[in-house]
Symmetry: C2
Subunit: 392 residues, 2 copies
């Protein structure tokens, strides 16, 4: 037996651990008595046209559940390329796309595709989604963290420059960011791009930006999100419909490798090979067909903006210190004691389920996923108030 | 970039290659003019109660597309355990089960879970499904093949005994067998089990049978399929609903680790850890919910029996030599020349798409997937006749 796998399977990610805990608590105390801010499970409904399409396909398409090509059906890749081109003035085609089982599989696959040596390093910029580390391990790479810019949770380019060396193969960029809710500016991305370009020349090998974009459509206050493949050539973009269409349990997303990427078709082929080796046969046929007809559809995401304001205002009014989110649906809140785990435990006494920031590469913060119902937020405020009073 | 991944992504499996070829040919010549026996894409419809459930869930369950636990929802695991117990007089519970994205992911995950050293060997018995090799590579193991019993394509225990040594960690058993259509008898399995038990004691470590059972429900002439976990303690069973419910594109199946397995809960935890590392978040939420309500449902599989007879009789009448299938939906036919690839190419001239046996670890045979419409088989017979005449 492989002990590392036993450990990974036993010590679950803290997010999953809290998700399970909250399920049990809800059974004990009732759904509306537990304020679960642990997991990014969208509360906003899947758009009705999506559910309508599912019903239509199941009734009328006799190939709806059949195998598809490993890379994905032609029509869904065509539809996605067309949608992206209309938004980003790009010229993607189906040949730039590989349909995957969500962004997690996309990231695990993409890392496996580009990592080739034990000495290869994958960099993530804190705060970062903790599973990146597990996927980098799976790819056989060394995982290193660029420490966080504790003032603004920005891209921390100064620290990134110190961390990149000749072993660096991948820099993961996640914007809108989970857990900070920050959105990196075009200028920040451009600065990183020109730095990496310089380093590629210096070291004589490709350095990839792996851009993890499940929150691409959840951006507030009219901010324009930079399209990284248009800024940096060697970009591998990982996308998921989990958040934009509220389909997290159906595992549907894609890998995009743009024409600007060096040896783009080989990189995409390497992704296909990695996916094959990891037992991915195809992304769900039903959901590929659904997305083919709804490549531009979106859930009613404005609820998240309302939640953002409700939670941010509710907590700051009490006295909590929070980062004001520009995107995604996470509020990053300073814990009321240094040890975020201890704070998590005390919050549990008020049925507040919050994720400590330690696994995200930052100490002393809590991640609150506010993709819950607005009512949950309203109901939770008195609990946060009691918790605050305990400390003050 | 990882060259092995590029290679795996570029040189696709011959089955996938032929599947793509046949799609193109059908566009050129028309659906009914190409006799595609390449891929195990069931022609039999998904049971109407399954499609009815999908529609019902999409309409009425507001959690239908949400994240599930990584291991799978409680109710689907409960339902599967209950169904298995009623059939095999076992006492499985939800804690013996991990819901996966079909059998391919289950195999890739299970191998990763138990392989821990570069020197670990995974054995497959020819003829075998070629992707086993790719999954064994992914797990970091050495892949070795037990040569085929060319008379009956049985379990070839004599050869197996020669191949097992102290590095052997897994023996993959696939019955009903893809590609031979053979079903191994209870006696054969018992003989392998007692041999492996002896070797476990001799070497002082566990040896697992990985039992790949996507064709479990497709068994002919009233044959009773041996339930391997009841015969051999260290069995990891990988199952898929691709064939029994005609859902291959939806990627839903499971890993079963029975109570008899040494450290059963650790083995299942290792599977969960391996799945996590490979980017599997959960099996489709919709299809978990569907199976929870239909754990005993089956497609109308008797069509495969009709096809078996049609194709076997049609080809043997012409003069082809075929193994009479006891299960699955493959006919293993002797090629009319030594080089099966050359035979494949000549068959293409008659729009016959057949898979050469070389990648299955046997030379000189063709695999014909007869999960096509009966009409396709009837229409293909004159083409097979012309091909035969070319050789005689």
């Amino acid at each position: 037996m492989n002990n590392l796998m036993v450990e990974l399977g036993t010590k679950r990610s803290i997010i999953r651990e809290l998700f399970e805990y909250s399920k049990k608590m809800k059974q004990l105390y009732g759904e509306d008595k537990v304020y679960d801010f642990s997991i990014g499970n969208p509360s906003v409904a899947t758009p009705s046209e999506i559910d309508g399409q599912i019903i239509d396909l199941v009734k009328n398409d006799n190939q709806v559940h059949g195998y598809t090509s490993s890379v994905g059906n032609v029509d869904v890749r065509d539809a996605i390329a067309k949608d992206l081109n209309s938004r980003y003035h790009t010229s993607y085609t189906k040949d730039n796309l590989y349909m995957t089982c969500g962004a997690s599989s996309a990231i695990a696959i993409a890392l496996k595709a580009v990592v080739s040596k034990d000495s290869d390093v994958v960099l993530a910029i804190a705060p970062y989604f903790p599973e990146y580390k597990v996927y980098a391990m799976g790819a056989g790479a060394i995982f290193r963290v660029v420490s966080a810019d504790m003032d603004n949770f920005g891209l921390n380019i100064n620290e990134l420059e110190k961390c990149v060396n000749e072993n660096t193969i991948v820099v993961i960029i996640n914007s809108p960011n989970n857990p900070s809710g920050n959105v990196y500016s075009k200028e920040e991305i451009e600065e990183v791009a020109s730095f990496l370009l310089k380093k590629e020349k210096e070291y004589g090998h490709d350095i990839y930006i792996l851009c993890d974009e499940p929150y691409r459509e959840i951006v507030y206050d009219g901010i324009n999100l930079a399209h990284i493949p248009s800024i940096y050539h060697n970009t591998i973009l990982c996308y998921s419909y989990s958040k934009s269409l509220s389909l997290p349990g159906e595992r549907i997303g894609y890998i995009l490798v743009g024409q600007n990427c060096n040896k783009a078709s080989e990189v995409l082929a390497a992704c296909l090979g990695a996916g094959r080796m990891m037992g991915y046969v195809c992304a769900s046929s039903l959901f590929q067909k659904v997305i083919a007809k709804n490549a531009s559809a979106l859930s009613d995401l404005k609820v998240y903006d309302e939640n953002r304001k409700l939670l941010y205002e509710g907590l700051t009014k009490i006295g909590y210190k929070c980062i004001y989110p520009k995107g995604a649906f996470y509020l990053f809140v300073k814990a009321l004691e240094d040890d975020a785990y201890k704070f998590m435990e005390r919050a549990k006494n008020y049925n507040l389920v919050l994720v400590p920031s330690d696994n995200f590469g930052v100490k002393g913060y809590m991640r609150l996923a506010y993709c819950v119902s607005s009512q949950t937020i309203i109901n939770s405020i008195p609990a946060f108030e009691k918790l605050y009073k305990e400390y003050n």
